[in-house]
Amino acid sequence: MNAAQIVLPALGPALPELILSLGVLVLILYGAFRGERSAEGVNVGALILLVVALFAVMSQSGAKVTTLNGSFIVDNFSKVMKALILIGSAATILLSRDYFQRARIDRFEFPILLVLCTIGMMVMASANDLISLYLGLELQSLAAYVIAAFHRDNLKSTEAGLKYFVLGALSSGMLLYGASLVYGFTGTVSFPGIVAALDGTAGLGIVLGIVFVAAGVAFKLAAVPFHMWTPDVYEGSPTPVTAFFASAPKMAAMAMTVRLFIGAFPDVTAVWQQIIVFVAIASMALGSFAAIGQRSLKRLMAYSSIGNVGYALVGLAAGSQEGIRGVVVYMIIYLAMTLGAFAVLLSLRRGGEMFETVDDLSGLSRTHPILAFCLAAMMFSLAGIPPLAGFFAKYYVFAAAIKADLVALAVIGVVTSVVGAFYYLRLVKVMYFDEPVAAYEPMPPGLRIVLGLASVVVVLFWIVPAPLVGAAGAAAKSLF
């Protein structure tokens, strides 16, 4: 084989990932040479990289293209999910600046690990075979374990990192075992190859493989019964890192789940549908009931995220194009609600101390009326009260479930969302009807930007839903 025979794969579709990869190497060198004083510069650089990558993603045509030996796919679905991932990561940098400076853990490695994590997540959203799926997942997870323990002098933070690492390694093992069974029984790792090899029938080996892969995926999604790590990791990690875990990696995990089940196993829906239905019901129920007794806002958001993953999975359980559209709409709105809620949570600061319990919100409406209004909007939206965005998110997934004859699933979903409304509305009650505690410090500008944008999406979604729903529809269409 001479040099002329080697064909360079088309790198254009992977342009956003290449921008991030090369950019992060430059940032590492800059940080390593400048030392600890470079944190500010590396943060700004990482933010610029993420925004540039976002523009690169948005400028892709959305037509279905595979490259890099068929292991990397770019279409409308990957476009939307990557945009969400990049927005979540960029928002995390904005949210983290002030907190990290005050906690004296303002080191240049954080934005670098965040960008590396983002590359992994984008690979997950573009995975077209089991190997690239696993490598993207591992890149994302490994960086996530480190930033969970980033506050290394804090016992809770290191415990969170260690817990996440041990359980994450276990779940990766399960995913790999399942993937090896799928490979063993189909003879290929590529998703189109698996579809062709299965030919609409799933033997016992494939069923077992799907079960193990689903277990690994459910862990990454923090769906019941693989959710045990979530409250502890969310509580122990530094709050901006918690905001990150609740936003961008959820987008990536959901993108990966949809790619895997719709991309590799579309003709054997009956096998995985029952798993997804069970996981969705259990997540919705646990997310609603377990959050009721929580006093810590971070734990409350952890249970809320478990519940929300359950609602999004209702759309996947439908297995139809409308179902996937529902999932994408849900993830868009969930991202806005989560980032908004965490922006408020991060601004509860007085005299250098962070306040993280429900009681610290007492009378927020009198001390900080705008903050209280925004958080109330997020909570009403999470509870699914019209005309806020959260209502439409739930509407699309439940409508798809009913169309797919999963009426019982939709009914259970509505019932659990009523139960869940209790604890969301309790926060509103605490803010508006309890006696105020002392005022908090003014919000740093980064938090203001994130909260402002998130509030606009959540409050005004019902006026012009077309762009977001249209993008989600195009994303779902590209998978079928």
Binding site: L113, L142, F150
Partner: protein, 206 residues
């Protein structure tokens, strides 16, 4: 029995026996040594299949680096294995139950396993033919062309592991004396040496 078959059974038998000894041995240092023995025999099996590159890599990476690292860890850290085994009796029933479930699942899976008849021929007639290119060349050709994406991603994962290890463990200790070469080079005789006259019977104050 041909020589090849004899060697196959020798290597395979020793691999399995030493693999068993890894978990059965009471002394952890002996366990690691048995692990090395298993690796070396597996390398022998690879050589017999014509995969000489994999065999050498197994010896270099696993025996040379990983197993020796294990040995260091086992010898340096005073792990009390008796204490680790304390909960053994308590967790035995649930562990046995899960093990049994997995065993049944595996048997069911193996029962439905059919091997593609074409697959058996593949090791005998490799693509590209073994006479034309060496193992290393054949691997290099696909590693940097078809699988360049996976190769680069694996590189990024290792980069994350390196940064993570530094972030979580590197600490600035105050009061540590470090070598500063430029300061050392800038020292002159006047800074380092002082010449004094020592008066007889009086000495000097230092």
């Amino acid at each position: 029995m041909s020589a090849a078959a004899a060697f196959f059974y020798l290597f395979a038998g020793v691999t399995i026996a030493s693999g068993f000894m890894v978990i059965a041995s009471r002394n952890p240092v002996a366990s690691v040594l048995f692990l090395i023995l298993a690796f070396v025999n597996a390398a022998g099996l690879f050589v017999m299949m014509g995969a000489e590159f994999l065999a050498m890599i197994l010896v270099v990476v696993y025996v040379g680096a990983v197993a020796v690292l294990f040995l260091f860890v086992v010898m340096m850290l005073d792990v009390d294995f008796a204490q680790l085994r304390q909960g053994f009796q308590q967790y035995l029933p649930i562990g046995a139950l899960i093990g049994a479930v997995f065993l049944i699942e595996l048997l069911l899976v193996v029962g439905s396993w059919t091997i593609d008849p074409g697959l058996v021929q593949t090791p005998l007639n490799p693509v590209p033919p073994a006479e034309a290119v060496t193992n290393t060349q054949a691997l290099g050709r696909v590693l940097y062309t078809d699988y360049v994406f996976f190769f680069q991603l694996a590189g990024l994962i290792l980069l994350v592991a390196m940064i993570g290890a530094i972030v979580l463990t590197l600490r600035d200790r105050p009061g540590v004396k470090r070598q500063n070469i430029s300061v050392q080079n800038a020292r002159t005789q006047g800074m380092a040496v002082e010449t004094r006259k020592v008066p007889s019977r009086q000495g000097v104050e230092v």
